[in-house]
């Protein structure tokens, strides 16, 4: 029932997620942030089971921090992505599999490139210039196919994001009221204004 989207530019990765926290028909919260900073240059968002999502994200965040404390340097983004993927793959065939789909936005400070990783609950992983999870992904991907171009700027990316959100409001049965937007670049992770859908799309 949730939705997240990632867009990669030349020197940044933008991640956006819905802010609903729902269980079955009950909407607990409409300003719930799921996105988590795994380290200074790694941003992760997710869809799926709320509890599994928190367990997964916090466990990964702490382990990535431990690596940094032990070794004196950050876990490299590609290493972190593979580590996370392997974690999902390992839990798949052991205890209860984690029902979480992930989007990982990263900036590799060593090669100076932004990276966007798409992972699903079965432990598959792919890099992509743009991707999305959830029912909303079906709409968002078509819009991105149309309007995305390499070398996109942050403002252009937000423009496309607004188009996606407008489409979701019009055609998706699920009602999302707010969207959390963050961007990761060489200077770290920055929070952008929350996008609100009431009375037309505007930002706070």
């Amino acid at each position: 029932m949730d939705f997240c989207i990632g867009i990669r530019g030349n020197d940044f990765v933008l991640l956006c997620e819905d802010m609903n926290a729902a269980q079955s028909i009950m909407l607990h919260k409409q300003d719930h942030e799921k996105m988590l900073d795994l380290n200074d240059h790694l941003l992760m968002t997710r869809t799926g089971n709320l509890g599994d999502g928190v367990q997964c994200a916090e466990f990964l965040q702490k382990n990535i921090q431990l690596y940094q404390i032990r070794n004196g340097y950050e876990m490299r983004s590609s290493a972190a992505a593979h580590y996370i993927r392997k974690y999902l793959a390992d839990t798949l065939r052991s205890r209860e599999p984690l029902e979480v789909n992930l989007l990982l936005g990263a900036y590799d400070v060593i090669s100076n490139t932004p990276q966007l990783y798409y992972m699903d609950y079965l432990g598959s992983m792919a890099t992509a210039p743009f991707c999305a999870h959830g029912y909303g992904a079906m709409f968002a991907t078509s819009i991105l196919d149309m309007y995305y171009h390499p070398g996109i700027s942050v403002d252009e990316a937000i423009g496309i994001l607004n188009k996606c959100i407008k489409e979701l409001k019009k055609r998706l049965i699920i009602n999302f009221s707010k969207f959390n937007v963050k961007v990761v670049d060489k200077d770290g992770i920055h929070k952008l204004p929350t996008i609100s859908v009431e009375d037309g799309i505007h930002t706070h």
Binding site: N71, Y73, M75, R76, S78, A79, A80, H82, Y83, K86, I110
Partner: protein, 250 residues
């Protein structure tokens, strides 16, 4: 002496010493020397071969140099069978990291992991420590070219130039005076010969007894170990002998 505290590897003596660990280092003090020099464009490892019987079949290219992973190489001094076990374990540790992170294991992390294993044998389990010291040479994208040394106690440190095995103290004091921080490999190789010549019995230093390799980073982004051919080593030894002859004449 406190012989009562010898046989238990995991007990301190009243003076606060771990005798088994010290005895392990004693064993290494009788083994073939290994020298390592960190130059700005590569790392040099020079080893004294002890097994030089003509009847030996040359199955392995090197006696004391081993490749641990795509980016690390090591040389060993001490009990050969212990060394084989440690090298096996090091290779496993490196590959496990690669399985998890899909990148080569950074040098210090590999050395530290191995040393944690070695330390365990000095604290619990009742088994004797490994009678091996190792020199590790490698490259990673954090700190570039690095040279590490570890010993049976599980202690390790990073070095610009160091030596393990027989006469290592003499070699280190020799390196102390002659090593320069911005040395190139071309300058390090004759320095290694000079030091090896000094510490080994001068009558007996021949190219058959030396194994010299350089660890360098290629343009394609790989870490290569190049073994210096025997003829080149022989030439360098001859050159050194001539230098010494000239010096004694003056």
């Amino acid at each position: 002496m406190s012989r009562r505290y010898d046989s238990r590897t995991t007990m301190f003596s009243p003076e606060g010493r771990l005798y088994q660990v010290e005895y392990a280092m004693e064993a290494i003090g009788n083994a073939g020397t290994c020298l390592g020099i960190l130059a700005k464009d590569g790392i040099l490892l020079a080893c004294e071969k002890r097994i030089t019987n003509k009847l030996l079949d040359e199955i392995f290219e090197t006696e004391k140099l081993y490749r641990l992973s795509p980016n690390m190489v090591c040389s060993v001094a001490g009990i050969t069978s212990d060394a084989n076990t440690l090298v096996n374990e090091l290779r496993l540790i490196a590959q496990r990291y690669q399985l998890n992170y899909q990148e080569s294991m950074p040098c210090e992390q590999l050395v530290a992991s191995m040393c944690d294993v070695k330390q365990a044998y000095t604290q619990f389990g009742g088994k004797r420590p490994f009678g091996v010291s190792l020199l590790y040479a490698g490259w990673d994208h954090h700190f570039g070219l690095q040279l590490y040394q570890s010993d049976p106690s599980g202690n390790y440190s990073g070095w610009k130039a160091t030596c393990i095995g027989a006469n290592n103290a003499q070699a280190i004091s020799s390196l102390d005076s002659d090593y320069k921080s911005d040395m190139s490999l071309q300058e390090a190789i004759p320095l290694a010969i000079k030091v090896m010549y000094k510490i080994m019995d001068q009558n007996k230093l021949t190219a058959e007894k030396l194994e010299i390799a350089t660890v360098t980073r290629t343009d394609e982004g790989t870490t290569e170990m190049t073994i210096i051919p025997r003829e080149t080593v022989a030439e360098l030894i001859t050159k050194r002998e001539q230098e010494i002859a000239q010096e004694t004449q003056k």
